[in-house]
């Protein structure tokens, strides 16, 4: 065991070196730098629409790039595409497995995807010739549950899994193109960079990783959370990463500074973060929690500026529409709500 101990020592040594190196660049904190910025004031969003139709816990939702359509997945075994303005259901897709945990809308609007305990990512074509929505592909290779998926285009999709890996798939052939391995715990969530060259993943090993899609390599790792990272997303300019964890905090990490900029926490927030979304300008962070609320943070000043309290059970997913005009929350209470 001596060798293992030595290796671990070496590892810890390197980590200390990195921490020290990062410290030398800490000439200020984000809060200090933002002290002169005008306050945002109390943010009060109202529920504009309630999307009713699911019969069980909603686990995921995702906006389409057209700003009014969104897709949601529920453990009632349905994937529903909604027109969020009229609240009409554009499609109600029955799933083979009801244990769905994630869903995604392709940027083109042609495809949706979902997956869960079946360990597969199923792709559905919304624009089929005969009008019926059918399974187009079933991407199977993961040995753990599918926690998240995001399209790069109609031909490529990235998935994260409970088997601790993320995979880039070619949808046409249904094959794995690249495997991103390195996390030491279930991968819970992923986010794609605005230029589609990188993606980030958050996992149950308490770390977030930045991956180069082309090279299939991990470029950076961020730690600091004290529990599982359940949610992750890019800051709108693509230069920073936001994470949400079971430790009830959210963190902002900057890619170029290669370290944590700020932690969003409050002793009166006790329940874990399940989901997060940044507003269009990046000024506000909306975080969904297990205590049924969404907390709204001023990202620069790290102050809570609002609360969305409207769900009767855990908030499981949240998303801001692509033009930033509205945010949608999904909950275990089976409802989705549109706010602004």
């Amino acid at each position: 065991m001596g060798e293992m101990e030595e290796l671990r020592k070496e590892m810890e040594n390197l980590k200390d070196q990195i921490t020290a190196a990062r410290k030398t660049f800490q000439d200020t904190t984000l809060q200090e730098a933002a002290s002169g910025v005008t306050v945002v004031g109390r943010v009060q969003l109202k529920t504009r629409k309630t999307l009713r139709g699911h019969l069980a816990k909603i686990y995921a939702m995702h906006w389409g790039t057209d700003s009014t359509l969104c897709v949601s997945a529920s453990q009632d075994g349905k994937l529903i595409v909604w027109d969020s303005i009229t609240t009409n259901k554009v499609n109600a897709i029955p799933l083979k497995s009801s244990w769905v945990m994630t869903c995604a809308y392709a940027p083109s609007g042609n495809l949706v995807a979902c997956g869960g305990l079946d360990n597969m990512c199923s792709i559905y074509n919304l624009k089929g010739k005969d009008g019926n929505v059918k399974v187009m592909r079933e991407l199977a290779a993961h040995t753990g549950y599918l926690s998240c998926c995001r399209f790069l285009s109609d031909t490529e999709i990235i998935t994260s899994s409970g088997d601790c890996t993320c995979v880039l798939w070619d949808i046409e052939t249904g094959t794995e193109k690249m495997v991103f391995a390195g996390h030491q715990g279930d991968c819970m969530s992923l986010g794609v960079s605005p230029d589609f060259k990188f993606f980030i993943s958050g996992a149950c090993d308490f770390t977030a990783k930045l991956w180069d899609i082309r090279e299939a390599q991990c470029r950076q790792t961020f730690s600091g959370h004290e529990s599982d990272i359940n949610a992750i997303g890019f800051f709108p300019n693509g230069n920073a990463v936001i994470t949400g964890s079971d430790d009830a905090t959210c963190k902002l990490y900057d890619l170029r500074a290669d370290q944590e900029l700020i932690t969003y926490q409050d002793s009166s927030i006790m329940c874990g973060v399940t989901s997060l979304a940044a507003s269009k300008s990046g000024r506000l962070l909306l975080a969904g929690h297990d205590d049924f609320n969404v907390n709204i943070w001023d990202m620069l000043k790290s102050e809570r500026v609002g609360v969305l309290a409207g769900h009767d059970n855990r908030v499981s997913c949240i998303g801001v529409s692509s033009d930033g005009m509205a945010c949608c929350t999904g909950s275990w209470d089976s409802f989705l709500k549109i706010w602004n």
């Binding site: 926690s147 031909t155 800051f235 900057d254 507003s279 269009k280 300008s281 990046g282 549109i338």
Partner: protein, 536 residues
């Protein structure tokens, strides 16, 4: 001794337990005491359920870091403090009619204490936290099954640590049956069953038909034990026991707070535990495999290989380039500042957003592609923004065409398009792009440095999605520093930005953009958009 159908309702609370899911619980037909009925919906609000398995006796697992446990610990810190003799709320006995109500506090007491001791300014915040704690059953209203907190004179009692959720209770329906049964055995009004409880009992009687004698006997035994206790103690214990069941068998319509995210259930700490009964019964459960806990899937520990890989990675990170916090902070701040006007949650957008006004005019405006001044302004933020907006991209392209320098942008767009193509089309596209933009004597020859040119040529020997990555980056940088800046200074752009449209016709649709397009279209003879260029 199959327990399965009865176990169907309970959602787990702790993943310390071997969590087993039965996705097809409805079809499960394990023969059980001749039970026909599946009581699942009746007793619980959710249709899904895990199969319980072995668990060890009590004691909180110090290594248990499941999301629920993390919260329980925080709550328990608060609840312990609030009952403290010095620092807590005064817990007292209240005289009422001919009786005494032992060991209670009022809702207001709790809320006030929390505001003072947890430094909470907003009463709504205190109510929210208090409700969370009540929903988990750590304190409960003595006269209501619904576990909520009211900021008034309603009486609350604290839960006994024995019944705390952190003890990983997953009470079986046998326990629940015993509990309901014994309540009917005592002639006390306060122990009368509520309607939903009576219904539950009836269903359990049917489900446990063969086992009922056993249950009845257990209930009798429990009543005997209870009778031995002193009257006041009994009142307290009865209420605590009831609150326990209110957590694990909530009133229909109430949230079951012991539910856990199925993604977190996979943490199998100790697969061989004995199930725990609230009333000390020893049960044995079945040990079927859960679909989540397939042998191949396990929580990865650091193997030697992992550590070695980590060391390799860390070595690349030690001397990596980093930027100062002040610089990145500045960059984030200026980004948010620039986009604040476009952020609906901070600045109300014009026209009114369609969800509030049910007014689709915003969308129609976008669709007509008559760009608003605000939208045109955004194109000036970055080349990325200009290209992201189809109208911006169109205008930039037209400007470049007027300068006879559109090949760079067309090349860039062509490569973007190629990257989204199906795998089988990529190779052909790559060749077409080479022919159009890079080959000797190409019609839309772009200017690449020799190094990138050679690299790209090499890449094309085995063409793929990333064959043009270097070239694309190079061209993008060129556009950004050169043509884009000129574009922003150009008349076409400035006119649009300053909204110098002359509304000469009633239609008002003759925007500068359209006029410009016409004039450009007339003057261009040579450079035409090739079939390769598709608007992204």
């Amino acid at each position: 001794m199959a327990e399965a159908p009865q176990q169907q309702q309970q959602q787990q609370q702790e993943e310390e337990e071997e969590q087993e899911e039965q996705p097809t619980s409805v079809e499960e037909t394990e023969a059980d005491e001749g039970s026909e009925e599946e009581p699942k919906e009746s007793v619980h609000t959710t249709p899904t359920r895990p199969l319980l398995s072995m668990r060890s006796m009590s004691m909180v697992d110090p290594d248990d870091d499941s999301p629920n446990m993390i919260v329980y610990r925080k709550i328990e810190d608060i609840v312990t403090l609030i009952q403290d003799e010095e620092e807590g709320v005064p817990i007292r006995t209240v005289k009422s009619f001919m009786t005494k109500i032992p060991s209670v506090v009022t809702g207001t007491d709790i809320v006030q204490w929390m505001m003072k001791n947890l430094a909470i300014e907003d009463p709504a915040e205190a109510m929210h936290i208090g409700s969370l704690i009540a929903a988990q059953g750590y304190f409960f209203p003595i006269s209501d099954h619904v576990l909520s907190l009211k900021d008034d004179g309603t009486f609350y009692r604290f839960q006994a640590p024995y019944f705390w959720p952190s003890n990983c209770w997953e009470p079986e329906n046998t326990d629940y049956a015993i509990y309901l049964c014994k309540r009917t055995m005592q002639n006390k009004t306060r122990l009368e069953l509520a309607d939903y409880e009576a219904e539950n009992l009836a269903r359990l009687q049917r489900a446990f038909a063969r086992k009922w004698e056993f249950i009845y006997m257990q209930a009798e035994a429990q009543v005997k034990i209870d009778r031995k206790k002193d009257k006041t103690e009994r009142k307290i214990l009865d209420s605590q026991e009831r609150a326990f069941w209110d957590v694990h068998r909530p009133v229909p319509g109430c949230v079951n707070t012991t539910e856990m995210d199925i993604r977190k259930c996979r943490r199998m700490k100790n697969p061989h535990r004995v199930k725990k009964s609230v009333y000390g019964l020893v049960e044995e459960g079945t040990q079927s495999q859960s679909p989540i806990h397939t042998p191949s899937h396990h929580c990865r520990k650091g193997t030697k290989e992992d550590v070695e890989k980590e060391i390799l990675f860390l070595n690349t990170q030690v001397d990596r380039h980093r930027m100062k916090m002040s610089k990145v902070a500045e960059s984030l701040i200026s980004y948010t500042d620039q986009y604040m006007d476009y952020d609906q949650f901070v600045t109300a957008q014009e026209p009114a957003n369609p969800w509030t006004s049910d007014d689709p005019s915003l969308w129609e405006l976008e669709a007509r592609k008559e760009p608003s001044q605000q939208r045109v302004k955004k194109w000036g933020f970055s080349l990325e923004e200009a290209l992201k907006d189809p109208a911006g991209q169109e205008l930039f392209l037209k400007f470049l065409e007027s300068e006879f320098s559109s090949e760079n942008l067309r090349f860039w767009l062509a490569v973007q398009d190629m990257k989204r193509r199906p795998q089988q089309d990529v190779a052909q596209r790559a060749q077409d792009i080479w022919a159009e933009f890079l080959a000797e004597g190409a019609p839309s020859s772009i200017n690449l440095d020799s190094h990138s040119y050679e690299r790209t040529g090499q890449n094309l020997k085995d063409p793929g999605r990333y064959s043009y990555e270097d070239a694309q980056d190079h061209i993008y940088k060129l556009m950004k520093s050169d043509s884009y800046t000129r574009f922003l200074r150009s008349n076409v752009y400035q006119d649009l930005l300053m909204a110098k449209k002359k509304p000469e016709t009633e239609q008002g649709r003759r925007t500068s953009l359209e006029k410009f397009t016409r004039s450009v279209g007339k003057s261009l003879t040579g450079k035409r958009l090739t079939g390769l260029m598709q608007s992204s």
